[in-house]
């Protein structure tokens, strides 16, 4: 186990009205090494908030986050954002090298590492380009390489493919699976797409509408490559669809 959430809650304080709005409540969850964990839920269920807490970018309002195994020299988590969050003034190479750079890795070493990762995400030849010279799919590859550059144990994805067109999304889903298998890293992946959850996950955590709680956890043992039209996949899809449907209804009613 790499990371454990113990009864974690997070509430946002709205200064204008003095309200406390709970985003997530009573989340207890273990992240196991090497899994592809999906956080699935309707919009506004607090799944991104949960990811930020895992990344250490937000502190939980209640409960605790634990890291049972010491992480060594690498970083425990790295985040891939939906809107890529690439630095527009840095080339692909310099974007990927940002993490090692601020952590004091010498230039030669970090450039070598960056080149290796750029190759891993299939972007060779784009090293000297700026982000605005890349397509959406290429930008997300850069973001992935940048997150890998700190050699984290866990990669956190915040709806990374939501901004892409359907074709590119399909390609990137396969790419993510390939890189997950090649690197052996642990992926924690937030999405509101059922199809994505079924295609990618080894475990699916289904969340309730806000405030987000864990509604159900599904182990997915289906063999790969998976196809949405396969019988087992379709059955899982139907089951999740019904569960998620309830939550979407609840979210719209409230």
């Amino acid at each position: 186990m790499l990371l454990a959430l113990r009864d974690v809650g997070k509430a946002w304080h709205i200064a204008r009205t003095g309200e406390r709005v709970p985003a997530v409540e009573a989340i207890t969850l273990d992240v196991a090494a090497g899994e592809f964990l999906i956080l699935l839920g309707p919009s506004g269920c607090g799944k991104s908030t949960l990811l930020q807490i895992m990344a250490g970018l937000e502190l939980p309002s209640s409960g605790a986050i634990e890291f049972p195994t010491p992480t060594g020299s690498g970083k425990l988590t790295s985040m891939v954002f939906q809107e890529y969050a690439l630095f527009p003034w840095r080339t692909v190479l310099a974007n990927v090298g940002f993490g090692p750079e601020v952590r004091g890795v010498p230039r030669r070493e970090r450039e070598e590492r960056a080149r290796r990762l750029i190759e891993l995400v299939n972007l060779r030849g784009a090293e000297t380009r700026y982000p605005h010279e890349l397509s959406g799919g290429m930008r997300q590859r850069v973001a992935l390489a940048r997150a890998l550059a700190n050699d984290p144990q866990i990669l956190l994805f915040d709806e990374p493919l939501a901004a892409l067109d359907a074709q590119t999304r399909r390609v990137m889903q396969d790419e993510l699976l390939r890189i997950w298998a090649e690197t052996g890293k642990t992926f924690v992946y937030v999405t509101h797409s059922l199809q994505e959850a079924v295609l990618l996950g080894t475990r699916i955590v289904l969340m309730t509408a806000g405030p987000g709680r864990i509604k159900q956890v599904e182990e997915v043992t289906l063999p790969r490559p998976r196809h949405l039209t396969g019988r087992a996949e379709a059955a899982l899809l139907d089951r999740l669809d019904a569960l998620l449907g309830e939550e979407v209804q609840r979210a719209m009613a409230s």
Binding site: L57, F87, W89, A147, N150
Partner: protein, 251 residues
């Protein structure tokens, strides 16, 4: 050259030619509007005698000093105020109070405090540049996408590293907007500060010519100011291209 270029050239050449002909034909009194060629001649004489280059050097010295001090202070304060809340709180009321004052109105005060020499002129220019650069730098910092700051933090950057590696480059395009406006302001202010209590400079040269009703030399001053304006714009554009190669330009 495209058709558009030819039309632009024709516009300028045609007007200058008409102007020259009208003056030579005696239809315009050269006391009000000297012919282009005679202005050019005066410019050549004054360049050969060293009068014009000296005036330009004296003014440029004031402009460059005022511009450099003002923009350095403006960039530094703007970055700090944009990045640190309490710095912004301390600066805000002063910016709100001083920004709307025409900076030329401060020149008499500075002369009272610092005398009639260069310091009061340079300070006036510096203050004029400072506020334009400061306001634009702050706007640039505020315009940085917060997710970039989050990503930098997630990748392990310290606060100081975020300041240097994210906030500074992120604000750079806006900083250049401020510098361009500041350069224009510096030329306006150097002229105003050279009208009174000066014995040298391009503004002085122009104003003295006006008092002697020497329209040719007034024109020499006006044209030279224009050339300085064009040169500073080019210089800043070049600097921006070199330091911000990532900015998308339409052409």
């Amino acid at each position: 050259m495209t058709a558009s270029h030819w039309r632009q050239l024709a516009s300028v050449a045609g007007l200058l030619l008409a102007w020259q002909i009208l003056v030579q034909a005696g239809r315009i009194n050269p006391l009000f509007l000297p012919a282009p060629l005679s202005v050019l001649g005066a410019m050549w004489e004054m360049t050969r005698s060293g009068e014009l280059p000296w005036a330009v050097l004296v003014s440029l010295n004031r402009v460059v000093q005022g511009f450099v001090y003002g923009s350095l202070a403006g960039v530094l304060l703007g970055l700090l105020a944009g990045a640190i809340r309490w710095v912004e709180d301390l600066l805000d009321p002063w910016v709100a109070a001083v920004y709307p004052i025409p900076k030329s109105a401060l020149f008499p005060l500075f002369m009272l405090w610092f005398g009639l020499g260069n310091p009061s002129k340079i300070l006036t220019i510096a203050v004029g540049v400072l506020f334009l650069v400061l306001v634009n730098t702050m706007a640039g910092v505020h315009a940085i996408n917060p997710v970039l700051l989050k990503a930098a933090r997630d990748l392990g950057a310290s606060r100081a590293q975020i300041f240097v590696k994210v906030i500074l480059p992120g604000a750079l395009p806006s900083i250049f907007t401020g510098l361009r406006l500041g350069a224009g302001m510096a030329l306006i202010l150097v002229f105003i500060t050279e009208i009174e209590a000066t014995k040298a400079g391009l503004g002085f040269l122009l104003w003295e010519a006006f008092q002697l009703m020497d329209t040719r030399h007034v024109f020499v001053g006006v044209v030279t100011f224009g050339l300085l304006g064009v040169a500073t714009t080019w210089l800043l554009q070049w600097l921006e291209r070199v330091t911000c190669p990532w900015i998308q330009r339409s052409n």
